[in-house]
Symmetry: C2
Subunit: 230 residues, 2 copies
């Protein structure tokens, strides 16, 4: 018999939906998987890309998760001092077997005090901010430190999720899911990381963020001050 | 000034959500992109992986799309003789600049008579069924034939969408989006295609489908009989 395994994502306004929908597609095909998409209420939650998703659970109704996953996106900023959200993550994170993130979701885990002393991935543009929360930023697509797994930016969530499935159910299961999803990527360009994209494209990617960058940095610093150590 | 460009996805019950959410993440970052997720009503639509998505438009309210995209998934079967759905696709497909699909979405385009005489991709497990609709199956991750673009199974939608963006807005835009999404894939295993996965894993992937396979084949054959030629 396959025991049930509860995967839960924090589903919040203005998340980058692919941070969540990529790993969700992988995890949902694991043996015994139950999927939870959790927010404050059951009202539909707007993500980026114009996709609005309906939560399955609220913080109150969500059972203890086996694996907690926090995706990233610009909505991350608004959560950094949200006591209700951080409280939910702390409570779940204490008892979950795995505490995980994709993209800037690691900064939210950081604000909840769940990455202090851990190595973690993050989107390349925000990776260095992990140090504010006592975490060690790692430039890798998938990072594991004890029971913390993290994926880098957005599409790294697919690699992250297959790695988690291999860890929990074995390589054969991960390979089976990879085949079902035809994950044999052939990116049309070689521009998926700042190192490969080169300085000009990196500057273009940063440009529209500059105005918001200072404010985001300020929010991060404030959150770091509020984050429990230990 | 950037002119607006309307991307529209057919959002239907039991689609494979990553078929849609992968390309949607890419397309939504194209200059002037407006995103439409279209179904019969505005009621939330259950996809696989436990993710329920709220449509933005109905068939009646949806404007003429510049690019029509049909994702795949087991829900595809129920649409093969759905006159309302096929009618919507025919009308949109006649005037859209681009008619596209991901995964088994190409079979739905086929049933709407939109692939007769065209080369197309599809999920590896169902690719050969394209011939029933006068289409030529191609074993490739991204296929273009005139104004038809198609992606293979599930995650191929990301490669497909970047290819479309490069075609429409130029390589620099596609590379910029690729960098933003950190699409520098590093699959933990080499099992993403039937050729790489080998016969044992392919058999394991097919096994749970065998029971449904005959019924799905019957539905396809019936749909092919109903499909207008020309």
């Amino acid at each position: 018999m396959t025991r049930s395994f509860h995967f839960g994502f924090l589903l919040y306004p203005n998340l980058t939906q692919l941070d969540m929908t990529g790993p969700a597609q992988v995890f949902s095909r694991a043996p015994g998987a139950f999927m939870h998409y959790v927010w404050k209420t059951l009202e539909p939650v707007p993500s980026d890309a114009g996709i609005t998703i309906v939560p399955t659970d609220t913080f109150e109704t969500c059972p203890q998760l086996d694996l907690l996953c926090v995706p990233g996106g610009v909505g991350q900023i608004a959560l950094m001092d949200d006591a209700e959200v951080l409280g939910f993550l702390k409570t779940q994170g204490k008892n979950a077997n795995y505490v995980t993130s994709v993209c800037t979701g690691s900064l939210i885990l950081g604000a909840a005090g769940l990455l202090n002393g851990y190595r973690s991935a993050c989107h390349w543009m925000w990776r260095d901010a992990l140090t504010m929360f006592g975490a060690e930023p790692v430039n890798a697509r998938v990072v594991r430190d004890r029971n913390r797994f993290s994926g880098g930016g957005v599409t790294a969530g697919i690699d992250f999720a297959l790695t988690v499935v291999a860890e929990l159910w074995g390589e054969e299961h991960a390979k089976l899911i990879q085949l079902q999803l035809e994950y044999d990527p052939q990116p049309p360009f070689d521009a998926g990381s700042p190192e490969r994209a080169g300085p000009e494209l990196v500057a273009r990617a940063r440009a529209p963020m500059e105005a918001a960058m200072a404010e985001r940095r300020r929010v991060l610093e404030q959150a770091a001050l509020n984050t429990p150590q230990g």
